[in-house]
Subunit: 320 residues, 2 copies
Amino acid sequence: MSFNLFPEIQADLKQVETELEKHVYTDHPTLTAASGHLLHAGGKRLRPAFVLLAGKFYEYSLERLLPLAVALELLHMATLVHDDVIDESDTRRGIPTVRAQWGNRVSVHAGDHLFARSLLLVARLNNPVISRVMAKTCVEMCAGEIQQMVSAFDADQNFRDYLYRIKRKTALLIAASCQLGAIAAGAGAGIVRALKWYGYYLGMAFQITDDILDMEADMVELGKPVGSDLRQGIMTLPIIVALHRTADPSLSELVVKREKSEEEVREAIRLIRDTGSIEASHRVARLYLVKAKQELERLPAIPTRYNLALIAEFVGQRTY
Amino acid sequence: MSFNLFPEIQADLKQVETELEKHVYTDHPTLTAASGHLLHAGGKRLRPAFVLLAGKFYEYSLERLLPLAVALELLHMATLVHDDVIDESDTRRGIPTVRAQWGNRVSVHAGDHLFARSLLLVARLNNPVISRVMAKTCVEMCAGEIQQMVSAFDADQNFRDYLYRIKRKTALLIAASCQLGAIAAGAGAGIVRALKWYGYYLGMAFQITDDILDMEADMVELGKPVGSDLRQGIMTLPIIVALHRTADPSLSELVVKREKSEEEVREAIRLIRDTGSIEASHRVARLYLVKAKQELERLPAIPTRYNLALIAEFVGQRTY
């Protein structure tokens, strides 16, 4: 997903980028480098984009939306940095993370710093409703992280466990981005609610698609090695569905194995794909996208509404 | 420092304890255990106490002060948990930390969770001024942590560098506790300002005393091994003063050495004490306490004012 998906806010997203640079900058070269490493590694800036797009549904004021857009991306970055703090016993991913380059301590402090900067931007908006939504989202995201951690390598998980986790991992922050953009623009309760639910459903579909892409052995565009969820023991939808569909015990044995060879990861992916669970997962993602698009019908028919529908289309077809 | 130092708020501090239990509790046994480990390890509850005491200077309402008191302690706990995340290469402390028992990952998530819960309590107060003070304090505390990290084992530090760090490590959060307690009670700007500065000066003295206690080889009441700052390469006031006073190169050699034996730590402490830097550091702490007490003179002469003066006396004499 690149910026041309958001034609009407392209110039404003550049300003988000400039502001992000400013907020990542500190007097401490190591910290700036660690946070900057993540910033310059790219990213879709999906959360800022949703803040700005949601702001189009009432009084669009970049001045008011900009700090919010930046705050949501900083919070997202903070969670990414902290996610990368792993135990010594864990296998390293194929790419250099902040942790891999600077160690756990810098990662923790860099994440805390991004979190605090995000918090400060939100506090300065002087809007208690926005502060509360942000805080609640943070608490839920933490609960999701913890659930992902404690349920790792546990093959005895169902669809509901999965939905609990991806709601907190992804959907709630995208929902908050849409909701808060609309609130900051002064939109009415009905518009705010529709945009929040659009963001929620879209976020669920986005994460399901992300989890499917982790199984697509021929994809290198994702920027992380294929099968990384399998290696980390994260039970994603394709894995959960496959475990329910197969009678072959070798899949569950592979899935719960803590240190897998490259060959074992490939074998697990093959077994998973053979059950048809990839297609089943795609169907679930599409159901969420239908629900996202239904929410859009509650919104005024401004061009942004079609842009949001286009984004939903794109999520269903994304290959990176 | 135990609760009998705060006679007039003793019953209310018990409620703080009950509320802390509630906020540390989650659906996740591991997380609850990790956060509870820290909660039950004790702690002086200095920040909640200052919130409540500051609240006595206008309209004391436990209902309004309680969430704030709990939020400040949760934030303090979050910083403690994250401080304990250390690199694999670092030496372990003598006592089991959250990290030592549950690993880095649980520590990061437990700290994030405590941080988010604190944030949510503050957001629910619906007071943008309080939200801003909290957020600013968080940003500064992060900067202090990072400075402590990057300046570790660097013997080329002066008094100002030290003050920069302890301001952020300790004084700002105690200042915020006093300031926010007064704000939540509806006190006027003059009272809020005096209490904030009282907390700031007291916090500076408190941290200097803490750093002195780390050099007192016969103290075991502190709950951490003596010389832990030396081991971690943190240049405290007694060390900085000693380095400026001595011509003996063996002290600076010992100080910058990353892995010190027990014998070397003891030798470094002996060299530091021989310079008279402990007494010099005590004098600096006393200067800050004089300033703290001067701020109290701006406050109405209610019994709490004498209690705050007593606390300042106590900080000057504390041995644990």
